[in-house]
């Protein structure tokens, strides 16, 4: 009896696996049929190693930019792009360990160190967006419309207005720290909340606490309708946020997909890639999220 039961279970499992396989197969077949005209006009190349792993920051993923770029890049080059979205610190760490093939990150200093240490090659500027300080409508620190970021940060400290910090060593957190440095302030005290979270979660918390926070424009525009915080400081030159792409060196990690990484970099700085980046978000938010700046 017991043996029979086991066999039955096994058969059932096999049947289920078979079903899943068939369904997956159907799915694959059905997809190209949706756009038959496009398939006909363009032949997608077939690279030797189509698997390409990209580590990038949460902002490119959360803003929806990569969702638009990925299918076009894959169609043009034949690579299969796997996106791992983490903070800049973790993304660079993955690059140092050779776990990914290419990086799209925003922390110029860390990027330069990464290349200097021999981990990265073929670094290129791709685009930039900017950061802004958002805060509650009633503006307890009185900094609405302030153009100088240093003055604004000093006023936040003087009024002990709650400020929420990413506190996660991400590109945005590094930018925040550089702004504090510039103002000559070491932020500490009850008013300064270091939360160690991604941008979306940090924005939600700042909103809940009616606090100030530093946020990248892409995430802000994508989420602003959900929360009540408004832009208070923007436009200062030190709030610009440049993104770079870097391929992982084959000298350090022979198994890395350097051809694919270079194909991704070339595509991102190509006329088409740059045009798509520049146009992204205009229809949805009424303004550009990222400004292409490849040279």
């Amino acid at each position: 009896m017991r043996k029979l039961g086991k066999n039955k279970l096994f058969a059932l499992l096999l049947a289920m696996m078979f079903l899943v396989g068939v369904m997956a197969g159907c799915g694959n077949q059905a997809e190209p049929e949706k756009t038959p005209d496009k398939v006909a006009e363009q032949v997608t190349p077939t690279p030797d190693n189509p698997k390409l792993k990209l580590a990038t920051t949460t902002s490119t993923q959360d803003s929806g930019l990569l969702d638009v770029l990925k299918p076009e890049f894959e169609k043009d080059t034949g690579y299969n792009l796997e996106i791992i979205a983490v903070g800049t610190g973790a993304a660079i760490n993955m690059g140092e360990k050779g776990d990914v093939d290419v990086l799209l990150v925003h922390s110029r200093k860390a990027e330069d160190e990464f290349v200097a240490a021999g981990y990265g090659v073929n670094r290129k500027d791709v685009m930039y967006n900017d950061f802004l300080i958002v805060g509650p409508e009633n503006d307890p620190a009185g900094i609405k419309g302030e153009k100088d970021i240093v003055v604004a940060m000093k006023k936040i400290v003087d009024t002990k207005s709650t400020f929420v910090s990413r506190g996660d060593d991400s590109g945005t957190h590094k930018k925040e720290k550089s702004v504090w440095d510039k103002a000559g302030i070491t932020p500490q005290g009850d008013w300064y909340k270091s939360v160690g979270k991604g941008m979306g979660d940090t924005f939600r918390m700042a909103n809940e606490m009616k606090a100030y926070t530093l946020i990248d424009r892409a995430t802000f525009l994508a989420l602003k309708d959900k929360y009540q915080l408004v832009p208070v400081v923007e436009g200062d030159a030190s709030l610009l946020n440049p993104y770079g792409v870097i391929a992982i060196s084959k000298d350090k990690y022979p198994n890395t997909n350097l051809e694919g990484a270079n194909a991704f970099i070339d595509w991102m700085v190509s006329e088409k890639g740059q045009k798509m980046i520049g146009e992204y978000g205009v229809d949805k938010y009424g303004q550009q999220l990222f400004v292409p700046d490849a040279k």
Binding site: G87, G89, A90, N93, M94, D169, G196, K197, M205
Partner: protein
């Protein structure tokens, strides 16, 4: 391998050095999870027993609901508590968001179904003889029911250890309603997530070791309840 060795070494050093920030994080972890466990036990054990022993309409449905909620995803529990406690939610007035209290509430939501459901099962597993024997010895209905609960203590303690395991290791709910604020609501699990996100794998491993050690100590404490009331004669003998 390097990272693992580094993590073990760092973990050992962290524990020995009694880093003040880590001590704070550890104490808060214990405070939140143990409080939540106690509250879950105070409500869950009596309710589980009633569900097991009392016949009333809807009992089966209630039991099934309890079992289902044993699988409540922590993030969902966190979201529910968030929506209720948020400044724009029904209990926003109390300003509980991003406090340890909010974390305890969320964890009670996770721990209660486990304690209640497993207690019910443990009580139901007792043979009729226990009740009958007690009744024969002249016990009232109430006393006989008490005898059954006493006999179920192994199962109830298992319920408590299972619930504690879930609470102390849980990250989704405390992250959402606590906010992982440094020095205020950061606990061991949220620290591990943060260190991992920052690429500090060895620190994450080190904090993980502290978490396991704490879990081990609390488990010992719960299991000591068992030792005190449990004698060798009941252990199954294989002859």
């Amino acid at each position: 391998m390097d990272v693992i060795w580094q993590g073990l070494k760092e973990g050992f050093l962290l524990i020995v050095a009694m880093d003040p920030e880590l001590v704070h994080i550890t104490l808060l972890s214990i405070q939140v999870s143990v409080s939540a466990l106690l509250l879950a036990a105070i409500m869950g054990i009596p309710l589980g027993t009633v569900l097991a022993l009392k016949e009333f309409p809807g009992r089966k449905t209630l039991l099934n609901i309890t079992y289902t909620f044993m699988g409540l995803p922590p993030v969902l529990a966190g979201l529910l508590v968030f929506l209720f406690l948020s400044t724009s939610g029904p209990f926003g007035y109390f300003q509980l968001m991003f406090t340890p209290t909010a974390m305890i509430i969320a964890q009670v939501l996770l721990g209660f179904p486990i304690v209640c459901g497993l207690t019910a099962r443990a009580v139901m597993a007792q043979p009729q003889e226990v009740f009958d024997t007690a009744a024969t010895l002249g016990a009232t209905r109430r006393q006989a029911s008490w005898a059954i609960i006493r006999e179920s203590r192994m199962g109830i303690i298992a319920a408590l250890t299972t619930a504690l395991g879930r609470l102390i290791a849980e990250v989704g709910a405390v992250m959402m309603v606590g906010g992982n604020i440094k020095g205020e609501t950061r606990v061991l699990t949220t620290s591990i997530v943060l260190e991992t996100r920052m690429g500090n794998d060895s620190s994450a491993l080190a904090i993980g070791m502290v978490l396991l050690l704490i879990a081990f100590l609390i488990m010992l404490l719960i299991l000591s309840l068992e030792k005190r009331t449990f004698t060798d004669e009941r252990r199954i003998q294989i002859v």
